[in-house]
């Protein structure tokens, strides 16, 4: 069975994020990391591989500039078998549709039975890519999966909803996106880190994919019209009280008024 995991290079989650007003793109010059949500996707794939046995392979795929190799290596160090890396100046400025379309091209070319994505990225955070990817690949797409089992060619999953969860069954091939409650991602081991350099990271260009429609900024169907900084947070309200009990009452009244309790 061929499992493909999509991984994204994102700015370090603890760093301040800035958008370049001229290009309206995220400034990506600082420290970068593997999108934390994708660690859960990798872990889910590795656990399936451990259950399903040696014939199962886990391939990671990313669309990113050269430096994206670092996050690909982390996935390989965690235990993925190999990687596909779509690195092409023509990808710059792609929107969700463009990204999903190009990734679908790369994944279809490689062949797959199951694609596992993270729920969302920590930079653009649209959470739309997995759905779009399923659409372009023409297979069922199950988002927000918190439990995943493969039985022959049947996939059984639990999908989180706001009020509970849905039990869903589908055939393969399929695309899923997994939530943080599905597992606890492993650390890459030293052995994995040292072994990662022996694994293949196959480079891919847009020319090799020969996509029908353009991607990149030229192919983007969405346009960022305007952007503003989030409103600065005002000063908190300070109340002077003479006793703890009085203070507690003020707090309770405030929470009641806001309908928080």
């Amino acid at each position: 069975m061929k499992i493909v995991v999509t991984v994204k290079l994102v700015p370090d989650t603890t760093a301040d994020k800035r958008i370049d007003p001229a290009t309206k793109r995220l400034v990506r010059t600082g420290e970068t990391v593997l999108n934390p949500f994708d660690e859960y996707a990798i872990e889910a794939a590795l656990q399936l591989k451990e259950k399903l046995g040696a014939e199962t392979t886990v391939t990671v795929v990313t669309m990113a500039p050269e430096r994206g190799k670092e996050v690909v290596r982390k996935a390989l160090a965690m235990g993925a078998d190999d990687a596909l890396m779509l690195s092409d100046p023509g990808c710059e400025g792609s929107d969700v549709m463009g990204t999903a379309y190009a990734l679908a091209g790369a994944i279809a070319k490689n062949g797959f039975d199951l694609v596992v994505c993270g729920t969302q990225s920590t930079d653009a955070i649209t959470g739309e890519l997995p759905g779009a990817l399923a659409e372009f690949l023409g297979v069922p797409g199950l988002t927000y999966v918190r439990k995943l089992e493969i039985d022959g060619t049947t996939l059984r999953a639990e999908r989180e909803t706001d009020s509970g969860f849905l039990k869903v069954t589908t055939g393969l091939p399929a695309v899923v996106s997994v939530t943080k409650s599905i597992n606890e991602p492993r650390y890459p081991s030293l052995k994995g880190i040292m072994g990662a350099k022996k694994k293949t990271i196959a480079p891919l260009t847009l020319a090799e994919l020969a996509l029908e429609h353009p991607i990149g900024s030229g192919g983007a169907k969405t346009e960022l019209v305007a952007l503003t900084d989030p409103p600065a947070r005002g000063k908190g309200k300070v109340v002077e009280v003479s006793s703890g009990a009085e203070g507690a009452k003020v707090i309770m009244d405030f929470l009641h008024a806001k309908k928080l309790i």
């Binding site: 190799k69 670092e70 290596r73 982390k74 160090a77 650390y187 890459p188 081991s189 030293l190 052995k191 880190i193 040292m194 990662a196 350099k197």
Partner: protein, 382 residues
């Protein structure tokens, strides 16, 4: 000159940072308060391959280089010096002697399980009456009927008494050389050796979650093949071992200083006095600037010594310089970090108070500041 870390070095640094921040940091305060040895963390580090980081894969290690090892110790020490010394002492003092001087059989028997982290191992040089003057050891090992019979005491031995300690390699007098001076050799003493006992843990000011004990040998008997390497080479061997060990304790000092700096910087931005954050006062800014400057300096010295070792150069001088300087830097940094915290820095709730206590040993263990200066002067040819 290239300051870029390799992919592996960066990956190892980032793994250790993640591990230290998520697994060690939340526990550090409680482990220190209870002087509790973290068996579960050691198990996790063993599973990740950290306990045998710089040894070749064929001996159960991860095959990483000294730079990676220094970066790993640095990240651990940044959140908890006790955890860092547990790893550093196990690797540099406990396991390295097998790697450097062991026979193939000794490597299989001891280095492999050590590198896999299945057991810990100690290195016993110091005695109650012989510290800086380690050559003045009094512990004796006599060859009787094909066995070494050991009598004596060792003091302050790290990792020597945990539930997973396999044993300790000790320095002992095994005779006299042709010039009538004591002949020193290193002998492997497994934990279950009859006549070998460990004291309770010392009650320590710092490194409280690391295991340190006194060892007693009363007619302790080990087989003749437990001699490590050549007879009479004890002094030469432990000097070699300490050279390498200095890089890891220097990395530990740098890590501790980085951790104290992290805390001080954060606190300075949060604490308000006279209507503004104390980080807006030049006196505090200058302290922070000096801290960062000295940490950077010490870090570069450690990495240079590690790089020299990795590239097969003579690294004794660099390692000693790095150990001395980073130990003293860590002292100045924790001092200022507590100063920046004011009275809160004196309270157990703030990590800097633990770092302040953990720091002092950096200037004592594996060769005091004075002994480092002596070593450096000797290497100068004085």
């Amino acid at each position: 000159m290239d300051f870029e870390l390799s992919d592996e070095q960066r990956a190892i640094q980032s793994l250790c940072r993640d591990f230290a921040q998520s697994e060690v940091r939340p526990r550090a305060e409680a482990m220190d308060a209870a002087a509790e040895f973290p068996y579960d963390l050691v198990k996790k580090m063993a599973d990740l391959g950290l306990m045998g980081l710089p040894f070749p894969e064929e001996y159960g290690g991860a095959g990483a280089d000294t730079v990676s090892y220094a970066l790993a110790i640095c990240e651990l020490a940044r959140v908890d010096a006790s955890t860092a010394i547990t790893v550093a002492a196990h690797v540099s003092l406990g396991s390295t002697p097998f790697f450097l001087f062991g026979t193939e059989e000794q490597k299989r028997k001891y280095l492999v399980p050590c590198a896999r982290g299945e057991m810990l191992w100690g290195f016993g040089l110091t005695e109650p009456q012989a510290g800086s003057d380690a050559g003045g050891a009094r512990t004796r090992a006599e060859l009787r009927d094909g066995s070494w019979v050991i009598n004596g005491t060792k003091a302050f031995i790290t990792n020597s008494g945990t539930e997973i300690t396999g044993g300790t390699t000790i320095t002992a007098i095994t005779g006299t050389d042709e010039r009538g001076r004591p002949e020193l050799s290193n002998i492997i003493v497994p934990q279950d050796t009859p006549g070998f006992t460990r004291s309770k843990q010392y009650n320590k000011m710092g490194w409280r979650a690391s295991d340190t004990r006194e060892l007693a040998f009363q007619d302790a008997v080990v087989p003749v093949e437990n001699l490590l390497g050549e007879r009479g080479k004890g002094l030469h061997q432990f000097l070699k071992i300490l050279d390498g060990g200095r890089i890891s304790v220097a990395a530990l000092s740098v890590g501790l200083a980085m951790g104290a700096y992290d805390e001080a910087l954060k606190y300075a931005k949060e604490r308000h006095q006279f209507g503004r954050a104390i980080s807006k006062f030049q006196a505090i800014q200058f302290k922070l600037a000096d801290m960062l400057c000295e940490i950077e300096h010490a870090k570069l010295m450690v990495l240079k010594a590690a790089w020299e070792k990795d590239t097969g150069r003579d690294f004794a001088m660099s390692a000693s310089l790095a150990k001395l300087y980073s130990g003293e830097v860590s002292g100045r940094v924790v001092n200022d970090a507590v100063q920046i915290h004011g009275g809160y820095g004196f309270m157990d709730e703030y990590p800097v108070s633990r770092m302040y206590r953990d720091q002092k040993i950096n200037e004592i263990g594996e060769g005091t500041n004075e002994i480092q200066r002596l070593v450096i002067a000797r290497l100068m040819g004085l």
